[in-house]
Symmetry: C2
Subunit: 117 residues, 2 copies
Amino acid sequence: MASNIYDLAYELENALKNSQEYKTLQAKYEDIRMDPAAKKLFDQFRNIQMKLQEKQMTGQNISQNEVQEAQSVAAMVQQNPKIVQLMDAEQHMSIAINEVNKIVMKPLDELYGKMSQ
Amino acid sequence: MASNIYDLAYELENALKNSQEYKTLQAKYEDIRMDPAAKKLFDQFRNIQMKLQEKQMTGQNISQNEVQEAQSVAAMVQQNPKIVQLMDAEQHMSIAINEVNKIVMKPLDELYGKMSQ
Ligand SMILES: [Ca+2]
Ligand SMILES: [Ca+2]
């Protein structure tokens, strides 16, 4: 790969790292890391999400118990301002990343689009 | 999102579009588009791949017939130099894209890594 592509990738990495979206996300993660109760709830939430997602992707049955557990943890998460703020920050970061990906990947999308006509 | 992030994303898009990897991929796609027999085989190959992938992801059964069809089309694809060259070009492009993504996404990987400790 041409070296200017690497240079631009590193510049973009640096710009993203210095963006408001990233700094906010970093701060919200730190808020949770410093709060053991929030951290525990957050970990629980992520673990259930991953478990259910994996089961869905591999076509395994999800039990009524698991659905209830997921709903109950999700309800607790909604009551925790630090986690709500983190999820909001994650969404903003994710929108920024998607915009970047859409721009960078446009030439490839065009190629594939042309090919599937 | 800060405007310099957009600027860098567009510069990166342009650099990727002018890369040897992209130009080669574009040329190999064009070779196939101009060859109806290769294009038909290529479309057939992609369709089977997508169908099987979708079935796998949604946990549906894949029949013995479908496996045989996929193997037979894959064998024909291996005998078609234009498609073999396209798949090689796709792999090179994909390696370049993965390298770019790894660089750009490093700050996020670091955040998530720190959080899952
Ligand atoms: Ca290379
Ligand atoms: Ca924004």
